[in-house]
Amino acid sequence: MNIFLYLDENTWFHRLDSRTKILGVLLLFCMAMVFNHPLYVAGFALGLVWLAAAAKALPNFWRVRYLLFLLVAFSTLLWPFFAKGPTPLWSWGRLQVSRESLLYAIAMGLRLASFVGAGLIFLSITTNEEFTQGLIRLRLPYPIAFAFSTALRLVPTFAGAGATIVQAQISRGLDVESGNIFQRAGKFIPLAVPLFIYAIRHTNMLAMALESKGFNPGAPRTWYYDPQMRRADYLVLALLTALFLGMLSLRLQGYGQVLPRL
């Protein structure tokens, strides 16, 4: 099973600089938070689907289709009981649902799906290496970025080792499928101990390998790969910023709001 979400396509979005992609997805997150009227949020969500189609990221949307559906459904069922509005629709004891809270709930479901959608577009067009490189270029301290990229590389190794350990323990009679939640969580211990020891044994060897090559976390660094921001990157960032400010000004004028909250 491929655990990576990156889709190797040659689109205009894929060719953007990693800093543009990171800042761009942050702006998309901010935009998703501007309105709380379902029609406005739905408009934004449709815009994201168009972006995903242009970035050839729709296969990843299909991959998490159940999650997206559940997010909208769950939020729509949950929020009406917590957000209060002035126009009552239904009440039972202390539980009340108003027209505004129902609309707000639908909007929040779409907002959650938009968050996931924007994140998916980003992950579909950005490799792990680009992501780390972008964070470094955005002034994240190098040792933190190094730990992050090393962890990203180790995850598939440990996931593979974990799968082998599961098979080995099952062949010795461990039944991981039966029992309630707590019993099943308890059965994770015979799997976790060998995985933990296997992983921690790597630490000393990896540290020695790095130090033998002169690794110094605080030393100034030079780069083989030196990406440059191009005109298209600045254009994308300017466009997204303008769009965000435009949406914000609409909200401040009272558009796209069913309840006076975020």
Binding site: M33, G119, A147, F148, T150, I200, N204, P217
Partner: protein
Amino acid sequence: MKPLGTMWKNTRMIILVAVCAAIYAAALIAFKTAIPLIPGITEVRVANIFPMVFSLLFGPAAAWGSAIGNLIGDIFGGTLGPGSVFGFIGNFLLGYLPYAMWTTLKPIADGKRELALQNWRSWVLYILLALISSAACAVVIATGLEALGMVPYPILSSIITINDTVGSLIGGLLLLAVYGVVRRQLRLIWWDVMDPEDIGRPRAGTLGAWLVVVGALGGWILGAYLLSGQALVIGIIASIVILVGCFLL
């Protein structure tokens, strides 16, 4: 808080951050879709047996490792979003508070870093810290997600607190199994790996620890059960108290 910054000078601690993050993320990804509680937000987190064990063994590396591991779990799980920022901070606390409060939560703590696993008092402290660090994590994440309009505070704070506490308690078995190996064979316990001058001393450790207790348990119980109508305000105040407490630790 000093070791959280000074640890980045030490190659072994940096590798421990990466290893902790990778183990946590691998377990999160493996069980991400197993038993969802709030789809896309949280699930029965079997992986939560790790952060507290990491914390008591690897100290500051566990705090960064848990935070980065949770972020990687979001990336591979396809749930990267603004909520990931609060997930990062909450899981950072889950990995930070147990080791930082192990010596400072007096009079329950005896002030020694060494884990006396044969001593009942150590296990009382372990259980308390499991609950407090889980509640602190829950308060910060639930406040953030309520503010973003993602999930109501009362529901999420209780789910995360219970979920993480149960995970940390089961993690006690893992700690029993691996403590000797990490301490004596691999010699990777955090206060042996770091230079003593890089570890330093807490500013006002006991005061900080009790501020965290008040913020975490008060924020959870008041916001989720007693004053749920004012949950966001309570969550914000509790989060500030927790963060101030952390700075004093």
